[in-house]
């Protein structure tokens, strides 16, 4: 839900601090990553259909609990519904299509994961304006329509997710597209063998890729949180052709600036989604390591250039920089499962991806904390003007990308001893096949 919806929930719940509601988001991110990590192994055995049904029940159930929480003014029900239960549902819902699509498209893993994760981002394109529309529809003199919107969204998501879950088809064992041969013999960074879920965290590659995802997402979350206020405070009146600062604008002028900033946020969301399919598909040709090399190198240059674009007063340059950054943020999310499949094979890629998503949970805490702490410290302690308080933050975020760059540079093929033997693989495939046959 968008910022205006958050404000409405905030007002309805009569919460003193935005951080009280912010806990819902923290719990959401933590449980998203944790559930993907804990239930990923179950998904590989039970199949994506069962996982999809559980995800639909959790996500829709969480929205209904939240609706009840809003109705009776109980914030803890929002933490439970949208934070904990909804987070678990989304974690399972996130990894199940990725795991399935990678197995269907072993020749175009990046395109497959890009498509799955673009779909996840595309949901926001529908959900946010739909929530806005529903609240306007349900609004009365005595209600702003939030709990009714939660209920309606819960029902719509449940139907859509159940249709998706029952539409899943798992490829037959040993599936490969007609005429395609595995390329592992030619490319050292793509294996045709498989690492067991339990052995993956014992490899340095797992933790290096964890660092790659965590740093890319931390920097991205930080920049997403900053983009809109930064645009308003850095350019102020120039956004509406006036040569005054944001503080000097009238209420109407501030409203016009806020509308421009909202448009900027929308544009960033769109580019985040497009970046997922574009960069992930490109990684099939560039290679995963080179793709992340591009993200981190270009990212560092762009993060460090944003304050300069602000000082030049060039809105177009500033917007262009953030748009490219956001494509790489989305691309980072979408390319990581294909990177994992290249390093660890496809047998447990869903479960290993689930465990790697704990990096997202960590980034969901790290990114906002870094941005907020540095900003408060600069304004409150160093007395830096608000418009300039973002500069140091951007340099720190570029520093996070440098750590990610080093992690990516150190990624090498997995050592022979970590791969499953043919007997172990056959036993795992039999187990997965038996479980999925029983569920039909």
């Amino acid at each position: 839900m968008g910022v205006c919806e958050i404000d409405k929930v905030q007002n309805i719940m009569e919460l003193g601090k935005i951080s009280t509601l912010g806990w819902m988001y923290t719990l959401f991110f933590v449980y998203l990553g944790s559930s993907a990590a804990v239930f990923g192994h179950w998904l590989e055995h039970a199949g994506p259909r069962k996982a999809g049904v559980v995800a639909a029940l959790c996500w829709a159930g969480g929205l209904l609990i939240s609706a009840f929480g809003v109705h009776i003014h109980e914030i803890r029900l929002l933490w439970l519904g949208s934070g904990i239960i909804g987070g678990c549902g989304l974690g399972l819902g996130y990894i199940s299509p990725v795991s399935t699509l990678i197995k269907w498209f072993p020749d175009r893993r990046g395109m497959a994961t890009g498509m799955a994760i673009m779909g996840f981002g595309g949901g926001a394109m529908i959900g946010s304006p739909l929530a806005d529309l529903l609240m306007k529809h349900y609004q009365t003199d005595t209600s702003v329509g939030v709990w009714e919107t939660f209920v309606t969204l819960g029902v719509i998501y449940f139907v859509a997710m159940m249709c998706g879950a029952f539409g899943y088809r798992v490829p037959p064992t040993g599936w490969k597209p007609a005429g395609w041969q595995p390329v592992a013999q030619q490319k050292a960074m793509i294996t045709s063998r498989h690492v067991h879920l339990y052995k993956a965290p014992n490899t340095p590659q797992f933790w290096l890729l964890w660092g790659v995802l965590c740093m890319n997402v931390s920097a991205g979350i930080g920049v997403i949180g900053m983009a809109s206020p930064m645009l308003q405070e850095v350019f102020g009146g120039r956004l509406v052709d006036l040569t005054v600062t944001l503080a000097e604008l009238t209420k109407e002028q501030k409203g016009a600036v806020a509308a421009i900033a909202a448009g900027f946020t929308g544009l960033l969301s769109l580019l985040n989604i497009l970046g997922r399919i574009a960069w992930a598909s490109a990684s099939d040709y560039l290679g995963r390591k080179k793709t992340y090399f591009t993200f981190f190198t270009l990212g560092m240059i762009l993060y460090a250039s944003a304050p300069y674009a602000g000082s030049l007063g060039s809105v177009a340059l500033f917007v262009a920089i953030f748009c490219i950054i956001l494509t790489m943020y989305g691309g980072g999310f979408a390319t990581i499962p294909a990177y994992l499949a290249d390093m660890f094979g496809t047998q447990f890629v869903g479960a290993i991806h689930g465990r790697l998503l704990t990096a997202w949970s960590m980034a969901g805490i790290l990114g906002p904390v870094i941005v907020n702490y540095i900003r408060e410290y600069q304004i409150d302690v160093l007395k830096v003007p608000p418009a300039q308080a973002y500069n140091t933050t951007m340099y720190v975020l570029a520093g996070l990308l440098l750590i990610g760059f080093i992690c990516n540079l150190l990624v090498k093929p997995v050592a022979e001893r970590f791969y499953m033997t043919d007997e172990e693989l056959a036993a795992e495939r039999k187990l997965a096949h038996d479980s999925s046959s029983n569920s039909k």
Partner: protein, 47 residues
Amino acid sequence: MHGTGDNNEWHPSQASWAMVVVSWVLVGIPLAWGIWKTLQKAAVLFK
């Protein structure tokens, strides 16, 4: 799309293609609406 598994050739059925088309229509229409709404909002930035 067609290919091979361990034991035999695999081809999608006509029903599978029909489901793909219906699914894309059901997802594509609200997605296009969402993108359109986002672009309308973003257009303010370029005025």
